[in-house]
Symmetry: C2
Subunit: 440 residues, 2 copies
């Protein structure tokens, strides 16, 4: 019996049905891209043969984190315009910069830089939404990351889609290019929002997603005044507008979901729609607070997202877990709100469910795809370690020591093996010099 990778003497945190139970001195064995076996070291009578054996002492091994919402290419605009009013930020900084600088080369290199940042932070799967998404999917493929990559749909001229009349066809071509081609890349549809897409576009985009059996992302209820900005409103609130358009189902991922009334929450729960919450971005842009604890109580499947780097400005899901928990508590004036184990679930198992990948990833179990990360526990800031709750309240993406995606070791002892990250940094710095005030 021989494996591709064997991790020994690690603390295993399988998650999913196991909650935050750990196996303290455990092993995990990987073969052909999948988890073949795991359990206590004591169960091994002899140490199995493996192509690569990783000494897991002083580490915790858990499922890779699932970032359910990102605009990876926006690393180029990281910190370009902070501390601004939303409309000033969008109309005077982000939209003009996107119009000038977004092209396939930019999307490729900036998405690859994002992939390096995410892999280093223990993110093994991303739900990404942007334009020129073909280049983003190529970057994720080349970077060794798993991705649900969604091509944008908007009723305005967009990067790569100058004529909005072509937007559905452009998404269809993107799906043609990627469906069933690369096991780690799932193509999808990203309908920007109900205030930038009219009913016809939203319905056509969802019809295409249904026809192809792929996920459908849409920004929803991010701003308090979104109801006033809907294009051809079919109902009183953005959520009921989407409900009236018939697009809410278990393959629709509603991003943000801040401004929801009681009826909206019931609709999301009843429809089975997934929610991607981005607390860091929502705090920084002062958008508001997603009612995460309440949605969770209603049984809505919730994942966490970093959003893009222009509004966050970091791609660290450990930080998002911490922000999500702390924000819920202070907002509800209740320290028991949204306890740490719920966040660990949202960042892994539930996140996988949000992206339609629950059968494959989001847990450590025999048969699952081998997406897992090793956290370095031998450091002052994670000592003592009474329980995995500490991963929410004290760990950082920088504590990730090694990362395996689809059975391939892509980060080992903090060295990125999958590709040349220095090249990605140099390319993005060169682009940033053109963008303006910065670049090194």
């Amino acid at each position: 019996m021989s494996y591709d990778i064997l991790i020994t003497d690690t603390t295993l945190l399988p998650l999913a049905a196991h909650g935050t139970a750990t196996i303290d001195r455990g092993f995990l064995a990987i073969r052909d891209g999948r988890i073949a076996a795991l359990g206590p070291m004591a169960e091994l009578s002899v140490l199995p043969q493996a192509g690569t054996t990783i000494d897991g002492r002083n580490t915790l091994t858990m499922p890779g984190l699932v970032n359910t919402h990102c605009h990876a290419a926006m690393t180029l605009f990281r910190g370009l315009a902070d501390d601004l009013d939303l409309m000033t930020w969008l109309t005077q900084h982000i939209f003009p910069a996107e119009a000038r600088f977004v092209n396939p080369e930019m999307v490729y290199w900036c998405s690859k830089l994002a992939a390096a940042e995410m892999i280093r932070a223990g993110i093994t799967c991303v739900g990404d939404s942007y334009f020129h998404e073909n280049a983003a999917a190529e970057a994720f493929r080349d970077a060794g990351l798993r991705a649900v990559a969604a091509q944008g749909l908007i009723d305005f001229p967009a990067p790569g889609v100058p004529d909005p009349a072509d937007n559905i066809a452009a998404v269809a071509r993107f799906l043609d290019r990627w469906q069933g081609r690369e096991p780690r890349i799932t193509p999808a549809v990203f309908c920007h929002s109900p205030y930038t897409c009219g009913p016809a576009t939203i319905k056509a985009g969802k019809a295409l997603a249904r026809e192809r059996g792929v996920p459908f992302f849409i920004h929803l209820a991010e701003s308090i005044d979104e109801a006033n900005r809907l294009i051809a409103p079919q109902a009183e609130t953005p959520t009921r507008h989407l409900q009236a358009l018939g697009i809410l189902d278990a393959d629709t991922i509603c991003v943000h979901c801040i401004w929801l009334d009681e009826e909206d929450r019931e609709i999301l729960a009843a429809s089975g729609s997934r929610v991607a919450a981005c607390p860091g971005s929502n705090m920084k842009l002062a958008s508001g607070v997603t009612p995460l604890a309440d949605l969770d109580r209603r049984g809505v499947t919730v994942g966490l997202g970093t959003d893009g780097c222009a509004s966050n400005n970091t791609l660290d899901l450990f930080a998002e877990m911490d922000l999500a928990a702390k924000l819920q508590k202070v907002h509800a004036a209740d320290p028991t709100s949204l306890p740490a184990p719920r966040l660990l679930d949202m960042a892994t198992t539930s996140g996988a469910r949000v992206l339609g990948l629950a059968d494959e990833i989001g847990r450590l179990a025999p048969g699952a795809r081998a997406d897992c990360i090793l956290i370095d526990l031998a450091q002052p800031g994670l000592t003592p370690f009474y329980s995995p709750d500490l991963l929410v309240y004290a760990a950082s993406g920088r504590d990730v020591r090694s990362v395996i995606i689809d059975g391939r070791l892509v980060l080992r002892d903090r060295a990125l093996l999958a590709f040349d990250e220095a090249e990605a940094m140099a390319r993005v710095n060169r682009l940033a010099t053109a963008v303006g005030s910065g670049g090194r």
Copy 2:
């Protein structure tokens, strides 16, 4: 002309009066514990001699961060009891654990572990408040950290002070032991709070602090119901209670300051009292939101604090800057509230002023004590780097590469030089095994 340490080719962020202006290719020279010179490399006709020369390429050098409020020894209780109601947390977990486990040996090792964590995160000076503070001060001294170390004062039996009648005398003995003895250690008085100390104790503690010319710390207005729990209230609110007791002045550091009405805020501003804000702890315990932007606007000198590890659970002032900014924005529904440069000031220059050390630290300037840190900029998560605002919204304490305190290199290329951190971790893990459910 020879220096002890010379940093070359670094991006300098001097702060203080310079705001967030940088010197892009700069040098910084240190002699006899102080900054001797700094400026653009171009000003150096020849490279000066130095005992240690640090190649600063791809780094940013800034003043060390000032953590204005901590209970360092509480690393032992890090993550011991999360997601609990405040009174359950205090009375069923923290107080019983403190009664059993707090002794000089525990305080020494757990404070030393905290020192390792803080130095690694770029904190070069801490305002620490606990009991057995003598052991904490010894730990900070041995760790190479700068500290304002305050011995606790409370009207209940406390670790090391079983008889509250002895509490003032115990603080006086602590001040005797440390005043003027160690240049990096400033002793101080920590009066726990107006709900655990009666007027006589508060006044006597402040009188002692005034007599010795040392800082006086007190928790203030942390909980919404604190007014109802005051011992012998002299006025309607905790702030006016302290004002009536005559203890508010520029050497009093009020910690938390969440529940302040208009009159309270005016009192704090007029008295010149300093404020130590701890957003991470306040969010996790759901205590509320310190009106930081408003206090800042009124000219109150504000610093940031991590609080102790039992309520946070991490000692990372980069995380506190991010939390403070984001929490103000989402709470005020205003993304322009408390912009990044204000946070950088609070974590350095203003923090130094809070601790009474503004003449010595908190900025890079000739003559200042040489407390400075080098941030590793050559990483995906800090690329591109348009401005130092990114330090607030994207950097982590884990991005600190090297640390100099009082002219001594204590962390170099992420290796802790000042002491054996593995020993501190092992000691604390051993203590944690006794504490209960955990330890490795």
